[in-house]
């Protein structure tokens, strides 16, 4: 009952807030892309918590990278399918 440390979700929200000045200085289109990256990290909050890493932002960055790579794999597959159709 009750916890001493913030949960992975709370941590990611705090981390995103800490980048609010960085976000503000970006172009609108870049701001939306940045929001997508943090949303991608939150999809893996269970894994970030389970890793119990002393520097959890590394796990958050890895989660963003993971989602990016999944997107690359999806697009690559689509390209291959389109190439086969030609």
């Amino acid at each position: 009952m009750g916890r001493t440390l913030p949960s992975a979700n709370q941590y990611l929200i705090q981390e995103q807030d800490s980048f609010s000045s960085f976000r503000r200085a970006l172009r609108r289109s870049d701001q939306l892309a940045l929001d997508d990256l943090f949303a991608a990290a939150r999809r893996h909050s269970a894994a970030i918590a389970f890793a119990s890493h002393a520097l959890p932002f590394e796990a958050a960055l890895l989660s963003m990278l993971l989602e990016e790579h999944k997107e690359v794999m999806r697009l690559r597959q689509q390209v291959e399918e389109l190439q086969k159709q030609q």
Binding site: T4, L5, H44, S45, A46, A49, S52
Partner: protein
């Protein structure tokens, strides 16, 4: 000497010493007996301090005897020296408080154990236990218990029950009649003619002599009100069976639990018979008396206390019983604190259950598999108890069972058997709800045992044990996920003790059995297929539609029943009109077998939403269907901003009904300032002042929560209702929401 076989109904301290017991005889007689019974508490401290305590006790006539002895403390290896003080049960509480005030550094044990628990330790009793009793005059000579709280089908007890309720909720209008029901009879007693009404009520109570009085609002309003009327008219109201005692009134209060203030109303308790207020009883809404009686049987608390106690209190009392049976001291106030750990250890251990973000959208033929009472199973299998070393992996323990596993084992076994009976096709249909109610009560106790172990003030709590259970729970769930993936299933969601999976071609129970067996092999913990969903929709967060929320979903099982979590229908503060709209909306989709059929039901669903929206904005909805409840989270004078709850609470104060901290205030949202109006018979509301625009917004939002996974977002619902249904919906282009995996 005479003897009889009957059921133990109630026991309490006798002001003249010893205890009084009430039995239900097999021949319909109600028997009152007395029994000499003393209780002992213990004090521990430095020898010099104990000498001073001894000198103090010498001046206290309540202390019948005191002596030095050694007793076992749960957290220490050897027995510790203590001073044992024996008193009459009626004198215990006041003497303990006097000693504690005089010697604040003293550690006290067994000082606040309920009398019924002490009696249960000595005689193996429980409420409604079937007993063989011998007695002489009014003195009980011997008692032997013939059954057990763990019996699955105890013989029915011939309880006489009277139910009493007013014809109106006193918060909304002044009641005019008291409805009294017993056996097949129903009496309407007008509350206007006070004296004759009270005499009529007394006649019923004397002639029928009920064992149980069931009321609605009896704790906070009805019984105190009747008692007040009786005093004014100088009539002795026979609510109590014990003639020379007044009912016991426990004061209302507010406490902090799980991050919020909870209000608990006053309690009105009787002697010799039991009073249960359905508004102040745990689990009453779903399971009524069965749940209260099951709680009383397994916790051994008196029926009227068990009906009102939280599951946390129930499990705590059961642990106390186990400790006393093993002659282990029960601390009055816990002094064992959290152990010192490194930051890294804290990082590793301070975690909850494993919770995934589910794959959003609509999924077909989804198997929902869950561990059977995961945390209690881990506690019993791995022998996790505060006095034992913490296990680091799932498996059998080399130590003898600790206090917690010993307490949980019979509970867990009974719940599993009852659950099997509720699911078995051989079970008698009339008994199925009875078993379900019992199983649900036991589930609450089991669930709270895990939480209580991490509670700093729990008598047998230890945060490290609590954390170990969480860690092993995460390990078990990950092993289940790995087993599912190894067998080609797609894991849609993980939630603490449950796993949602699907695989092409798997839509029958037998298709999931190999997976269940593999999980059992890998975890050694019991697991079951909870259900197979025809379809289930995992919903996105309201604040960020890119994200799904772990506990926000709905679906239809193969048997046609629905499961709904995290939407308005499940929230306590939703207006009834909006809850019902959402319920009906789900009803429209309930018969759809697959995604194609779901799409076909969308036009009907939108038409229904439009009709409800029209009725709302045209002011055709009765005001009581728009009443919402807001909790008083802090004292009224500390509100800086005039929130709806604070506004309504101030109005209640003005009419002399101030809400208490943690209480829910009923209100209706209105136009302009102050924006809300308390819902009470003495506070008139002009229907034209109701903020229908706000309610319309809530209605559309609630509709969109259900329609979103079928491809209709909130702006589209708005477009449809504001355009009076003229928006053309192209079903062909409508895309079921499916988030990328």
């Amino acid at each position: 000497m005479a003897e009889f076989t009957g059921w133990l109904l109630d026991l309490f301290e006798d002001p003249q010493g010893g205890i009084i017991l009430w039995f239900i005889g097999a021949d319909a007689a109600r028997i009152r007996l007395r029994q000499p019974f003393t209780v002992t508490f213990y004090a521990s401290g430095a020898p010099a301090l104990l000498k001073k305590v001894e000198a103090f006790l010498h001046s206290q006539p309540a202390a019948l005897e005191y002596s030095h002895t050694r007793r076992q403390d749960l957290y220490r290896h050897d027995a510790i020296p203590v001073l044992a003080v024996t008193v009459q049960p009626c004198a215990l509480s006041s003497l303990v408080h006097r000693v504690a005030r005089q010697f604040p550094n003293l550690d006290l044990y067994d000082a606040d154990v309920p009398l019924a628990i002490r009696y249960a330790v000595r005689h193996d009793t429980f409420p409604l236990a079937r007993c063989r009793v011998t007695y002489a005059g009014e003195q009980l000579q011997s008692l032997s218990v013939l059954d057990s709280p763990w019996d699955l089908d105890p013989p029915p007890v011939p309880l006489r029950t009277v139910s009493m309720e007013a014809d109106a909720d006193p918060r909304c209008q002044t009641p005019r009649e008291l409805l009294v029901r017993f056996e097949e009879k129903e009496h309407h007693i007008p509350l206007r003619y006070t004296r004759s009404s009270l005499i009529r009520l007394n006649t019923i109570l004397q002639q029928y002599d009920p064992d149980l009085i069931l009321t609605t609002n009896g704790d906070v309003w009805l019984l105190p009100y009747l008692l007040e009327l009786a005093e004014k008219n100088r009539i002795k109201l026979q609510l109590n069976r014990e003639p020379k005692r007044d009912p016991l009134i426990k004061k209302e209060g507010s406490f902090f639990s799980y991050g919020r203030i909870v209000y608990r109303g006053q309690q009105f308790l009787l002697y010799g018979r039991c009073h249960i207020d359905s508004r102040n009883a745990m689990l009453w809404q779903n399971y009524e008396l069965t749940s209260a009686l099951e709680m009383a049987r397994v916790t051994r608390l008196p029926i009227q206390n068990a009906a009102r106690c939280s599951p946390g209190t129930g499990i705590n009392v059961m642990e106390v019983l186990t400790a006393l049976r093993h002659d282990i001291l029960v601390p009055w106030q816990k002094t064992h604190g959290e152990e010192i750990k490194t930051a890294y250890d804290l990082l590793q251990s301070d975690q909850g259950g494993l919770v995934y973000q589910p794959l959003g959208g609509v999924h077909e033929n989804v198997g929902m598999i869950d561990f059977v009472s995961l945390y209690p199973s881990i506690m019993t299998t791995c022998n996790i108890s505060p006095e034992l070393p913490i296990p680091t992996r799932i498996g059998k323990s080399p130590f003898p069972p600790g206090i917690i596993p010993q307490t949980l084992k019979p509970l867990l076994e009974k719940r599993i058997t009852l659950k099997q009976r509720t699911l078995s096709i051989e079970t008698d249909e009339t008994l199925r709800p009875y078993y379900k109610a019992q199983a649900s009560t036991l589930k609450m106790l089991l669930v709270c045992c895990f939480g209580y172990l991490g509670y700093k003030a729990a008598k047998f709590g230890r945060i490290e044990s609590h954390e170990a259970i969480s860690a092993l729970g995460r390990e078990a769930l990950l092993r289940a996920k790995e087993a599912a993936e190894d067998m080609g299933f797609e894991v849609l969601h993980l939630y603490v003790d449950g796993i949602w999976v699907k695989k092409a071609g798997c839509d029958k129970t037998d298709d999931f059995l190999p997976l269940l067996n593999t999980i059992i092999d890998r975890t050694a913990l019991p697991i079951s297929l909870d259900c197979i969903y025809r379809w289930v929709a995992f919903l996105p967060a309201r604040v960020d539609s890119r994200m799904t929320v772990p506990n926000r979903y709905f679906g239809v099982r193969q048997d046609g029943s629905t499961t709904v979590r995290g939407v308005e229908i499940r929230k306590h503060d939703t207006a009834p009109y909006i809850s019902r709209m959402q319920e009906n909306l789900l009803g429209i989709f309930q018969n759809a077998a697959n995604r194609t059929e779901l799409k076909q039901h969308i036009p009907q669903a939108l038409e229904m939403v439009l009709a409800r929206y029209r009725r709302l904005v045209q002011g055709e909805v009765p005001l009581e269907e728009l009443v919402m409840h807001r909790r008083m989270g802090k004292e009224l004078d500390t509100y800086k901003v005039s929130s709806p709850a604070a506004t309504a609470a101030r109005q209640m104060v003005e009419i002399g009904h101030p809400p208490r901290l943690g209480q829910r205030v009923p209100l209706v949202f209105t136009l302009g300032k102050p924006g809300a109006c308390a819902w009470h018979s003495q506070i008139p509301i002009d229907p034209q002042s109701v903020n229908y625009v706000y309610y319309g917004r809530l209605l559309v939002r609630a509709a969109a929560a259900i329609l979103q996974p079928f491809g209709i977002e909130e702006p589209q619902v708005w477009e449809y209702v504001l355009g009076e249904g003229t928006m053309q919906l192209s079903l062909k282009n409508m895309r079921m929401a499916v988030f990328p995996a």
